[in-house]
């Protein structure tokens, strides 16, 4: 054989690199050789989208407990980093079910996207946090100040609207900015904004790190506040009713389990922080316990009055037109009877793992 010239060497090198990096990626990140065969899906797994926030806690909790008790889950939780990506994957049908901001789900329905809200994800679990050195102690003190909310379709924005209404103010009195929740603590620390508002644990983080002070928690302004719901594509409802039911039941049981005892919550903080959210467990422990009713996971059935309140505020905020009604954007048929539903029969993590 003739010795290779430089172009042939280059071509061979590139081909070798392509093979090497693809095999490494397959092995390290895609689990080509490990999990694939063992978990060879006899059953199709449905992806459920979520964000690493406490509002979506029941999603990983259900998955984890399913795996502990039955060995596998029929759901594959898919974690996103931001609302837009989560929404787009849901629209594309890549995730047939997802945890979603309630007003966003309602707006999508108004825009003709065939989805339904089938259950709630939680109640409460938001706050408005200001810098601890600031002179802001009441809603009125926010006049002229800059307030960060996660998204125009977020319930936190509606929450601000409601608090403004209660204080006899309007949005003209404050400056609202949109900001991804993970960036909020740093923005507050740097005093780039005067107040921040999003789902936990980011509010708790500012508090825990010593520069944030809670102005009020949702339960103080809007008791039984809903921010995130479980939304499902209509074709899932038509073709896979039992699957949707199983998902809803799982979430209901997880909610009961979480609210059953503080031990359970601390367990969840451990396994969710490490296995799903990649956060420090201390953060989740903090927001799940201080105070314990900061966020609640029971009483998750769909109530017309709650949504009509959102409709009203949504129209005031200019994100909803009011063309879709409760019957259009919800399907209450999956909601389990609250008195019948039982917490997961799982004692929690073994003691040594805590």
């Amino acid at each position: 054989m003739r010795p290779l010239n430089s172009v042939q060497k280059l071509g061979l090198g590139l081909a070798a690199w392509l093979a090497l990096i693809s095999l490494l990626h397959g092995g390290l990140n895609l689990g080509w050789w490990s999990g694939k065969l063992a978990g060879a899906a006899t059953q199709e797994r449905y992806r459920v989208g979520f964000l690493p926030v406490t509002c979506h806690l029941t999603c990983p909790v259900t998955d984890f407990i399913n795996k502990q008790t039955t060995g596998h889950g029929i759901f594959e939780p898919v974690r996103f980093s931001g609302w837009p990506e989560l929404k787009e994957a849901f629209l594309a049908g890549y995730t047939p079910a997802t945890f979603l901001l309630a007003p966003m789900a309602m707006a999508l329905r108004e825009q003709g996207v065939p989805i339904k809200i089938v259950y709630l994800g939680h109640r409460d679990g938001s706050a408005v946090v200001v810098h601890k050195d600031s002179q802001i102690h009441r809603m009125q003190d926010l006049r002229g100040k800059r307030v960060a909310v996660p998204n125009r379709y977020s319930n936190q924005r509606l929450l601000i609207f409601r608090a403004l209404n209660d204080a006899g103010m309007t949005t003209a009195d404050i400056q609202l900015v949109e900001m991804p929740p993970p960036d909020m603590p740093a923005a507050l620390y740097a005093k780039a904004v005067d107040a921040i508002s999003s789902g936990e644990p980011f509010m708790g983080q500012a508090e825990l790190d010593g520069y944030g002070r809670v102005l009020w928690l949702t339960k103080d302004v809007w008791p039984n506040f809903i921010s995130c719901v479980l939304a499902v594509h209509e074709d899932m409802i038509e073709n896979h009713r039992e699957t949707v039911q199983e998902l809803v039941d799982g979430i209901a049981k997880s909610g009961k389990w979480l609210d059953q005892s503080m031990d359970h919550r601390m367990d969840a903080a451990q396994f969710v922080a490490k296995g799903y959210y990649n956060q420090h467990p201390r953060l989740l422990e903090f927001v799940l316990s201080k105070p314990p009713d900061r966020v609640k996971y029971t009483n998750l059935s769909l109530r017309r009055a709650d949504f009509e309140e959102i409709e009203k505020l949504g129209q005031q905020a200019g994100i909803l037109k009011g063309t879709a009604r409760f019957e259009d954007y919800t399907d209450t048929s999956f909601v389990p009877d609250d008195s019948v539903i039982k917490a997961h029969d799982w004692p929690g993590l073994p003691k040594e793992k805590r």
């Binding site: 990096i21 390290l28 690493p52 980093s81 994957a89 620390y189």
Partner: protein
């Protein structure tokens, strides 16, 4: 043998080639440390915190995983961009109707940031590897196409005339004259595009993929006060980018393209 002055000069040059950049980096690190200490805040990490973050990533086995994932996506996205961009650029540079038909479209698509394509990528390709690969492809295919096109258009006419004089046309003309004549400029485009591809990896991995250096940064932001990991991700992206650039620069020393880069 006596040390000739020129030898000493070369030795000094080599030493300088190592000492100067390392000195700059050391200075920057010290400045960084001092600035963070002076600010009195522990939110932004010091260089040693970042090093500890890197060590933690190595211990968890994450660093290798993430680097592999990012390189995998850049390799495929960028490789596809080369496979599409070079032939497309050559055809556009050579065949005027193709240029007239496609150039406006290309010039209009070119300035669109890959970030703007994220929703499209998700809707078309879901959230696995295909979407970031698509974004990296988009970001790098245009510089490659445009430079290949310019390479053909700027080719010295005398090469073309000489080849045609020897009866060459069609595929041999393309392969043996037009491609090599344009190659230096193509390689320059490839170098720029590789830089862009690597740049876009962070944006591309903002999509729900769950690995990669871009993901590391996004994930660290979700994780509360882990800015040491954010900066660790930045450091890794920068270092690998440097290595990639050095590798592509070596391509420019291949004999059959060296003529295109002046006397160095």
């Amino acid at each position: 043998m006596s040390a000739s002055p020129s030898r000493a000069g070369i030795g000094q040059g080599r030493l300088a080639a190592f000492a100067l950049p390392i000195g700059t980096i050391a200075l920057l690190l010290v400045g960084w440390h001092v600035a963070v200490v002076a600010s009195g805040s522990d939110l932004f990490p010091k260089p040693l915190d970042v090093l500890a973050g890197l060590v933690e990533l190595v211990e968890k086995g994450l660093l290798l995983k993430y680097v592999v994932a990012s390189l995998f996506r850049v390799t495929w996205g960028f490789g596809l961009a080369v496979l599409v961009g070079v032939p497309l650029g050559l055809v556009l540079g050579w065949w005027r109707p193709a240029f007239l038909a496609l150039n406006p479209v290309i010039q209009a698509l070119r300035p669109i940031s890959p970030i703007a394509w994220i929703p499209v990528a998700i809707l078309w390709f879901g959230i696995a590897d295909a979407a970031p690969i698509f974004l990296i492809f988009l970001a790098s295919v245009f510089p490659i196409t445009v430079s290949s096109m310019a390479g053909v258009q700027n080719m010295q006419q005398v090469y073309l005339r000489a080849a045609q004089n020897f009866g060459m046309r069609g595929v041999p003309l393309f392969r043996r004259v037009i491609l090599p004549a344009a190659l230096p400029q193509i390689l320059t485009g490839i170098r720029i595009a590789l830089g862009v591809a690597w740049l876009v990896v962070v944006a591309a991995e903002m999509i729900a993929v769950n690995s990669g250096l871009g993901y590391l940064i996004i994930d660290a932001r979700n994780a509360g006060k882990r800015y040491d990991l954010v900066v660790a991700g930045m450091v890794m992206i920068g270092s690998i980018g440097l290595v990639l650039d050095l590798l592509v620069r070596r391509l420019e020393r291949i004999d059959s393209v060296r003529w295109g880069y002046g006397q160095r």
